[in-house]
C-alpha cells in the first residue's frame, strides 16, 4: 500500500512536471526563431498541445469510427451498411431507441421546470434558508452514478411479499396495504425507465437551479416594479416579465441537459444494465463493444448518436457567433 501510494505520487508528479516542461520547451523553441517569426509562430505553438489532444481524441477517432461502422465485428472486412440495417431492423434496438427518445423528451423538460421552480421559490426565502435549500438540491451533483445507484437502490429495493421491505418505496406501498412491486422490472408503460430518469433528474436539477437562479436574480427590479404598478399579479409577472428575460438561460440549460441525456450510460448500466426493456443507446454501445465484441455495431451506434448531435452543434455555433458579434 505504501509502495502503491509512493508510486502514485511519483507518477502524478512526473505527469504534471512533463506538461510544464513541454510548454517551457515550446516557448524556448519560439524564441530561437528570428525576429518577426517568433511572434508569428508563437500563438500556434501555444495552441498546439491543446489541438493535438482534440485532434487525437475527438477528430481522428470520429473519422475512424465512421470507417469502422462499415466493417465487421473485428474490423477486418467491409460489410457495407449491414451494421446499420441489422441494428435498425432489430426489435431490441428499436426499443432502445424509443427508450432513449423517452429520456430525451422527459428529463430536460422536468430538469428545467424543477430548476426554475427552485430558483424562483428559494429566492423568496430568507438568505439562510435559501442557501441551505439550494445546497441540498445541488449536492447530488457531487455524487457519482454508481453512488446514486447505491442511494436509490435503497429506495427501489424489492423483497417478495411477506418479507420485511428495506426499500423505501415498497415500505410505503405495503404500509398502505398494497403488494410490494419490483419497480425496476415494471416495464408496462416504461414505468421502470421513469424510475431511472428520476435518478438523473435528482442529479441534474441543482445545476439547472444554479444557472436559472443567477438569471432570475439578474432580472432588473424596475421591470418587475413597472409591471406591479400596472396591476399585474405575481403569475403574470413571472410568465410575462421574468420568463422572457431569462429565456436565453432556459434554452441553454435545456440544450445542455438534452446533450447529456442523449449520452446517458452509467445510471442504466448500474441499475439494470438495460434489462427489463430499460436499455438506452449508451448502454447498448457498451454491451456491443464489451459483451458482443462487435466493433462494427458499436461504431454504427456511435455514428447515429453523432448524427443526432449535429443539429445541436449547429445551434451552439450559431448562438456563439451571434453573441460574440453583439458583445
Amino acid at each position: 500500500m505504501v509502495l502503491k501510494i509512493l508510486n502514485t505520487l511519483i507518477t502524478v508528479g512526473v505527469g504534471i512536471l512533463a506538461a510544464l516542461v513541454l510548454y517551457w520547451l515550446l516557448n524556448k523553441l519560439a524564441e530561437l526563431l528570428p525576429g518577426p517569426w517568433e511572434d508569428r509562430i508563437k500563438p500556434y505553438l501555444y495552441i498546439l498541445p491543446a489541438y493535438a489532444a482534440l485532434v487525437f481524441y475527438l477528430v481522428y477517432p470520429a473519422v475512424q469510427t465512421v470507417v469502422f461502422s462499415f466493417a465487421n465485428p473485428t474490423s477486418t472486412a467491409w460489410v457495407g451498411w449491414d451494421n446499420y440495417t441489422k441494428l435498425l431492423q432489430s426489435e431490441n434496438f428499436q426499443d432502445t431507441l424509443f427508450n432513449t427518445l423517452l429520456w430525451m423528451i422527459v428529463v430536460p423538460v422536468v430538469v428545467v421546470a424543477l430548476g426554475l421552480a427552485m430558483a424562483v421559490l428559494a429566492d423568496r426565502l430568507n438568505p439562510r434558508w435559501e442557501s441551505t435549500s439550494k445546497t441540498i438540491i445541488f449536492l447530488p451533483m457531487a455524487i457519482s452514478a454508481v453512488g446514486a445507484g447505491v442511494v436509490w437502490g435503497l429506495v427501489y429495493d424489492y423483497r417478495p411479499e411477506g418479507r420485511e421491505q428495506i426499500g423505501l418505496q415498497n415500505a410505503i406501498v405495503t404500509a398502505l396495504g398494497f403488494d410490494p412491486v419490483a419497480w425496476l422490472q415494471l416495464d408496462q408503460l416504461h414505468i421502470n425507465s421513469f424510475f431511472l430518469m428520476i435518478m438523473l433528474m435528482w442529479a441534474q436539477v441543482g445545476f439547472s437551479m444554479v444557472l436559472l437562479s443567477a438569471a432570475v436574480k439578474g432580472v432588473p427590479e424596475d421591470t418587475l416594479e413597472a409591471a406591479r404598478i400596472d396591476g399585474a399579479n405575481e403569475r403574470d409577472i413571472f410568465f410575462r416579465v421574468v420568463v422572457p428575460q431569462i429565456w436565453g438561460t432556459v434554452l441553454t440549460v435545456y440544450v445542455t441537459t438534452l446533450i447529456g441525456v442523449m449520452k446517458i450510460f452509467d445510471i442504466v448500466y448500474v441499475m439494470t444494465n438495460g434489462g427489463f426493456n430499460t436499455n438506452v443507446v449508451g448502454n447498448e454501445f457498451f454491451n456491443q463493444l464489451f459483451s458482443n465484441f462487435n466493433n462494427g455495431a458499436a461504431a454504427a451506434i456511435v455514428v447515429m448518436l453523432m448524427l443526432a448531435t449535429v443539429p445541436i452543434m449547429f445551434y451552439q455555433v450559431r448562438n456563439f457567433r451571434r453573441e460574440e458579434m453583439m458583445g
Binding site: 475527438l58 432588473p220 452509467d266
Partner: protein, 306 residues
C-alpha cells in the same frame, strides 16, 4: 454524471448584454406555497442520502432485514451502530487501493488539461493570428461531440501500444475529452480581462510567457477554480471512461471497484454496499461543499456578467 460535462459548456455563454440588477429591495415575502414546495423538494432530495448514511453504520442483519427508518422508533438498534462496515469495505473490498487509484487518475486529469487549455485560451484571447476565429469555432463545435466516438479507435491504439489500463493512458483520454470545455470556459473568461493591462505588460518588456504566468493566470483564478472543481468531480465520478480504458484490476478507480466488488456481488449486502458508497462519495462531497461558492461563481460568471 455524464451529462454535466456539456452542461457546463453552455453554462458559460457570453451573454454580455444582460444587465446586473442590484437587489436592493427585499423580494416578496415567502408565501406558504413557496415554503411548502421548497421544503418538499429538499425533503425528497435528501431522504435517500440519509437512508444510505444511516444504513452504512448498521450491522449486517439489521441493514438487510429491516428498513433504515426503523432506527427512528427502535432506540435499542442505535447501540449496534458502528464503523465496522467501513473497515470491512475499505480493507476487504479493495476500496483502499481503488481510492488511491482514483486520486492518481483525478489529480493529473484535472491539472494538466487546465494548463494546456490555459495556454490555448491565452492565445485565443490575447494574440492575433490568421485562422484564430475559425480554430476557436472548431473548439465550440467540438463541445457537443459525444466522447463515445473515441472509444473504439483509441482502445485499439492503446492495445497496440500496450498502455491500456495505465494511469497516463486515462489521463490523456480525460485531457482530450475535457479540453474543448476547458478552452471554451477559460477563453471566455480571459476575454473579459482588461486588454490595457496586458498591453502595458508588453510595453514594459514582458514576454508572452511571463505575461501568461505572472498576470493572466493569477487573474483567471475564478475560472480556473470553477473548471478545476468541475473536472475533478467529473473524473472522480466517471464510470464509462474508467471501464473502457482501465477496467477492473490493480488500477481500477473507486467507481469501478464499488460496482464490481460490492454492488455486483449478491452476497455483499446493503451494509457493505452503503459503506462503500459513502467512501466513494465523501471526498467529492467535501470538495463540493467547501468549494461550492467558487464553483457557482465561476459557472454563472458568463451568464450574469454585466
Amino acid at each position: 454524471m455524464t451529462s454535466t460535462q456539456t452542461t457546463m459548456a453552455a453554462a458559460t455563454p457570453t451573454e454580455k448584454t444582460r444587465k446586473r440588477a442590484s437587489r436592493e429591495g427585499q423580494p416578496q415575502k415567502a408565501g406558504w406555497f413557496a415554503r411548502i414546495v421548497v421544503l418538499t423538494l429538499c425533503f425528497l432530495w435528501i431522504v435517500p442520502v440519509v437512508g444510505l448514511f444511516l444504513t452504512s453504520f448498521r450491522p449486517r442483519d439489521d441493514a438487510n432485514e429491516t428498513g433504515w427508518w426503523t432506527l427512528f422508533w427502535t432506540p435499542s438498534a442505535w447501540s449496534r451502530l458502528s464503523f465496522d462496515n467501513y473497515v470491512t469495505a475499505w480493507n476487504d473490498a479493495g476500496l483502499d487501493i481503488a481510492f488511491v487509484n482514483t486520486l492518481a487518475i483525478a489529480l493529473p486529469a484535472t491539472f494538466i488539461p487546465i494548463l494546456v487549455a490555459a495556454f490555448a485560451a491565452y492565445a485565443f484571447a490575447f494574440m492575433e493570428f490568421p485562422g484564430r476565429n475559425f480554430l476557436f469555432l472548431a473548439v465550440v463545435s467540438l463541445l457537443v461531440v459525444p466522447n463515445y466516438i473515441a472509444f473504439v479507435p483509441i482502445l485499439r491504439i492503446y492495445s497496440d501500444l500496450e498502455i491500456a489500463g495505465t494511469f497516463p493512458a486515462v489521463w490523456l483520454a480525460h485531457i482530450g475529452f475535457g479540453m474543448s470545455l476547458a478552452i471554451y470556459i477559460l477563453r471566455n473568461y480571459m476575454a473579459t480581462l482588461p486588454k490595457s493591462l496586458i498591453e502595458s505588460a508588453k510595453i514594459d518588456g514582458a514576454s508572452h510567457f511571463q505575461t501568461f504566468f505572472r498576470l493572466v493566470l493569477p487573474m483567471s483564478v475564478p475560472a480556473l477554480a470553477a473548471f478545476a472543481i468541475f473536472q475533478f468531480l467529473w473524473v472522480w465520478n466517471d464510470l464509462l471512461v474508467a471501464l473502457i480504458f482501465v477496467g477492473p484490476g490493480d488500477n481500477a478507480p473507486i467507481t469501478v471497484a464499488l460496482r464490481n466488488n460490492l454492488m455486483g456481488q449478491a452476497g455483499a449486502g446493503q451494509h457493505l454496499v452503503t459503506a462503500g458508497g459513502f467512501i466513494s462519495m465523501i471526498l467529492p462531497i467535501i470538495v463540493f461543499l467547501f468549494m461550492q461558492r467558487f464553483f457557482v461563481r465561476g459557472l454563472t460568471a458568463g451568464a450574469v456578467k454585466g
